[in-house]
Amino acid sequence: MNAPGRHTVPWRYIVPVLYIAFLLLPLYWLLNTSFKTNQEILSSFTLWPADFTLDNYRHILTDPSWYSGYINSTLYVVMNTAIALAVALPAAYAFSRYRFLGDKHLFFWLLSNRMAPPAVFVLPFFQLYSAFGLIDTHIAVALAHCLFNVPLAVWILEGFMSGIPREIDETAYIDGYSFGRFFALIFMPLIRSGIGIAAFFCFMFSWVELLIARTLTVTEAKPIAAIMTRTVSASGLDWGVLTAAGVLTIIPGALVIYFVRHHIARGFALGRV
């Protein structure tokens, strides 16, 4: 770091630097392994690929049973984020602005779903979605992930909305705005970073979940994470392809972080995640 007017870097920066090194070491190893041939992975121990190859990636990007996993995951994650935000926005407004019969109990009950272990819901989810003929569809996974994402979105948005003075609502109503117009034209732009943060967390928790997504899908909507676990057990240990698939699952997350990096700290402070 070369900050102007500052000649010494404080010694305490060594702590985050060491921590980041610890974070990156396993990631480096994953990346390194993904560029090796299986023969090199198993026969010799090398710190960087001696026989650099892109075959593992080529295998994934040309085989539909692999790359469809990425499309499936993206589809249900986007659906889930849209549904969660659409229902959470009005609810969060109600919680932040009004007191109503049973509001506190309702809020805790919602949060309790965020705390529910997914393992508890595996079997009943399977039966419920079977009954509706929704097994192996993207919407089934998107709806199931609402179990933990809707409470979280309500929680985050409520925190942001409570930071907006109530006078703004009252002035708008006096000026003759209807609730819908006020909400869409005035209120939503005011909490746009909150909406961004909520979307970020919905994306994140839906993208990383495996157990429910795997249970509710067979082939048509199978997420990439499930395809990875299947390959480990079925076709022996194709480490090269497995690590390449792992690297590719990290990329969307990394892109999303880059876009919200300025909101991460503020978002955590305001929306009480």
């Binding site: 009005p90 495996l210 990394a254 700290a265």
Partner: protein
Amino acid sequence: MKSWNNRAWLLVLPVLVLVAFSAVIPLMTVVNYSVQDSFGNNEFFWVGTEWFQEVLASERFHNALLRNLLFSGIVLAIEIPLGIAIALCMPTRGIGVSFCLVLMALPLLIPWNVVGTIWQIFGRVDIGLLGHWLNAAGVEFNYTSDVTDAWITIVLMDVWHWTSLVVLLCYSALVAIPEAYYQAARIDGAGRWSIFRAIQLPRMKRVLIIAVLLRFMDSFMIYTEPFVLTGGGPGNATTFLSIDLVQMAVGQFDIGPAAAMSLIYFLIILALSWVFYTVMTRDDEQAQEGQR
């Protein structure tokens, strides 16, 4: 003050319908199974609390619960202090901030099974950097056969995966402290430790409660990462409640005991979370009264 308005229920209605569909109906199914037994063919008969008694008395459940509690205790004891320490040492301005935030947030966005895969590849004795180096350095390390090694690897994996969450939360609270607080402290001649005790720690209290709550819940529900990394082994050494539960419900299809265990598991989490939640909201109310 918030105004009293029962029409606000209309705004909450979509959430209620959705959560009813994705939580209440499945939970009712679980309750239903937990009090019945079946001979197959969809014939069920009432058994009352038999399954609950069986689960609560079984050693298998006790052991899994103990493992879960031990695991949650260890990871909280490591991640919370470590997260605070790292947040305190982070740069507060300049390009270093974005750099740290982006890199630290990275593990949080990796699918959980990939986290397992990463540590599998990192820790293996034959092809892993960690396993290979440790053995080359003369340390006997094999997480697939040794219980202690398996636990060390799983704890290390969780620290790698989740400490960043604590760091980000604490950091956000730290940068929100006005500079004037530090100036006042300097005038009073406060040292590093008293600044931490009197200014930084109280300002971080709220996010720390949230961090403990989130880390406790998530570590108590852990499934995917140990499932991929160790598969619950060696033996049953890393079979946590979730792994045991899925094995029972989907693997052996013992629906009755599995449902009873689900409910007990859920109630434990619910009770503990309620304690956290009350503490947290009580603080909120106190803070609001303080401002008035």
